[in-house]
Amino acid sequence: MQSKRKLIKLILTLILMVVALVIVFPFIWMLVCSFKPLNEIYEFPPRFFSPNMSFDNYKEVLFNQNPSFMTYFKNTVITTAVAVIGTVFTSSMAGYAFAKLNFKYRDQLFMLYLVTMMVPFQVLMVPQFIQFKYMGIFNTLWALILPRLFTPLGTFLMRQFFLEVPTEIIEAGRVDGLGEFGIFYKLVLPLAKPAVSTVVILNFVWRWNEYEAPLIFLTDSKLFTLTVGLTSFIDEAGFAQDNLIMAAATVALIPMILVFLIGQKYFIEGLTSGSVKG
């Protein structure tokens, strides 16, 4: 019985490994192409290895660009870090209020948050552009950071998590005379580590890969982020140097994988402890 179970487990593992490999395959291909010269990317029949593979694309991407790829990297790290920290702060507080505090129009307000999640970015582009211009943050990294400090989805996630926190804890805090902020800071927030890491990881992913906003709101190439940097390998005719794009995309993906590897324990825990339960 025991050995049969082990065998089944082994077979399932093998099957899932194959599935996972199929899923990752496009990235393996991306990696392969990132080492090839441009003319071999579309050769026929396609080959996994070619004698002409080299680090040239990476050298080109990392060292021969102006502004350098490190600049893009730095900008991406700054915007991502500030936006993520900010959004954790604002959405945990608001999420808590929406979940556990009573105030007028609470649920209506929350509905409003949900509704705005549904607005496609294309619609906001022009209004935001004009708005940023008047605020003087157009063509600064603030144009990417400020609007992202208040993600409705982050608030939604935090609220879902806090709903699960037993109200008794809060009542106990009130009895002890901690005050609402004390309760939040000393009792509730420490419980929310998993939810916080969920919000961190998801926002990290979104901010890191943000494409349209930097494209529209930045003109100075010294402020560009990695994703926009990818488009610098597309020339005026729309012709793309796919080998360089693949190399650059690989470089941009590595930090994401690291963050996920490090954070996934908390991430999973965060989801487990109820942040995704209606």
């Binding site: 010269p37 441009l38 003319n39 579309y42 102006n66 129009y105 649920d107 209506q108 509905m111 409003l112 582009m125 022009v126 552009f129 004009i130 211009k133 008047y134 157009f138 063509n139 349209e212 494209l215 529209i216 003109t219 100075d220 190439s221 488009t231 597309i234 020339d235 005026e236 005719a237 729309g238 012709f239 793309a240 140097q241």
Partner: protein, 458 residues
């Protein structure tokens, strides 16, 4: 739940009303901004000039990457004009790039000089008052004396001159000389679609162990511009209110489709998924197609042996005509229009800069210049590059691309242009992919395009 919904709806409605009213009479900020803009034209105000660190500078927006010429040109200007240096900002010439430029212009970002690459955008920008009428600077005289074709070849909008072309784009067909030689083919003078089809068929087959198609029939995501080169810039319009798709020259498209069907042109699926619909040089330089439609500036890819290694000489032919009796001389267009922001704080310098660009571009930017005094030999050398004999048939280049008999294709009508082009693209795709019959294709083109134009007219 119901109560909550009602409250929410009321709230939303109230908000909507508030905003509509605001927009209706112009929100306070925007209204004052508009007034400011209006008064600015008369007396240059202070705002942007001050904010730019006190120093005067010109900001120039263009779609060509800085490193492919514009930066050197701007550097040359800066060394001569240290008091008013120019700064080149590259925008990507697509929808979001143009939106960025337009919104920038609208919201008062400092942009003194900028480039426009399409006729309908130029018209929209001119009509919205974003552009300075260059006649205020005697631009018409400058154009007549310095630019090929003079005022007749330059777009004028409602009688105003809002831009100057900086480049001549000539279109034609590139051919792989090696493949032609192997089959002993010589391209006839003034060849016709029938001859083109025949030659494409002959060139199709195995070459150097590779499958070769005679040609591709798409250029700029549209069928080869037989109609455009025959009819000139307003090729899609019969009149201001009617499209021209019932013109016999569009029959060429059925022939182009036939070439895909009979296997002498690159299959459509292939074209689309490799993004060859706009420009097909990767397939041509890789020896997969023997002929390719081109614009002169694309020759830079032929010179790029690192990314496109190849060992054949590229020669040139004009686009085929529908038949012997249908000449198609409109193979050149004046393009890359340079304009001045009507709100520029430094118009005199901007105008100086624009003239500088027209005259000096030939030295730095690898495009045929619109300047009529440019040294043609130098230009050919710049465009074809070093070692050109190994890459190009220079004689054929001069004969085809610098043919003095070419006429400039000038766009004067733009009503619903973007929609009509989209219809043309969609319907042609459906036709090529056999989703519509030939009869329906022409019928749909005509009725849908007419409807789109009429919608814009009223």
């Amino acid at each position: 739940m119901g109560k909550m919904l009602r409250k929410l709806t009321t709230g939303l409605l109230a908000g909507t009303l508030a905003v509509t009213t605001l927009v209706g009479c112009g929100s306070p900020n925007n209204a004052s901004k508009d007034k400011e803009a209006a008064s600015e034209t008369a007396a240059p105000a202070e705002k942007d000039a001050k904010s730019s660190n006190g120093a005067q500078k010109l900001v120039v927006w263009g779609g060509v990457p800085a490193e492919s010429g514009p930066q050197k040109l701007v550097d040359a200007w800066n060394s001569q004009n240290p008091d008013t240096p120019a700064e080149y900002v590259r925008y990507v010439n697509d929808e979001s790039g143009n939106t960025k430029l337009d919104t920038g212009l609208l919201s008062g970002e400092q942009i003194d000089v900028f480039f426009t690459y399409s006729a309908d955008l130029l018209q929209k920008r001119a009509e919205s008052g974003m552009l300075e009428d260059l006649r205020n600077f005697k631009g018409d005289e400058f154009v007549n004396s310095e630019i090929s074709g003079g005022m007749d070849a330059v777009p004028q909008i409602n009688g105003g001159l809002y831009s100057m072309p900086t480049a001549i784009e000539t279109i034609g067909i590139l051919l792989n000389q090696k493949m032609l030689d192997a089959k002993g083919i010589k391209i006839p003078e003034n060849w016709t679609m029938a001859q083109f089809m025949d030659i494409a068929k002959q060139l199709t087959g195995e070459f150097d162990g590779k499958k070769v198609y005679g040609t591709t029939v798409l250029y700029s995501e549209l069928p080869l511009p037989i109609a455009e080169t025959t009819l000139g810039g307003d090729w899609i319009y019969k009149s201001d209110t009617e499209s021209n798709f019932d013109h016999p020259v569009f029959k060429a498209n059925a022939m182009l489709k036939e070439m895909i069907t009979n296997g002498s042109a690159l299959p459509y699926e292939e074209v689309v998924s490799r993004k060859l619909a706009a420009y097909s040089h990767p397939a041509f330089l890789n020896g997969e197609i023997a002929m390719m439609p081109t614009a002169a500036w694309m020759l830079r890819y032929v010179k790029d042996l690192e990314n496109f290694p190849h060992d054949f000489v590229t020669t040139f032919a004009p686009f085929p005509r529908l038949d012997e009796n249908t000449p198609n001389p409109y193979a050149a267009v004046l393009n890359n229009h340079i304009s001045m922001n009507s709100k520029s704080q430094n118009k005199d310098k901007a105008w100086e800069f624009m003239q500088f660009w027209v005259k000096e571009a030939s030295k730095y930017v690898e495009k045929a210049p619109s300047w009529n005094k440019a040294n043609q030999e130098e230009v050919v050398k710049l465009i074809l590059g070093e070692n050109s004999e190994k890459l190009f048939d220079a004689e054929a280049y001069k004969k085809v691309m610098l043919n003095p008999e070419l006429k400039y294709s000038l766009v004067t009508k733009t009503t619903g242009l973007a929609q009509v082009m989209q219809i043309y693209k969609d319907e042609t795709t459906k036709f090529i992919l056999d989703a519509t019959s030939e009869e329906d294709y022409y019928k749909n083109l005509k009725t849908k395009a007419d409807a789109a134009i009429q919608k814009e007219v009223k």
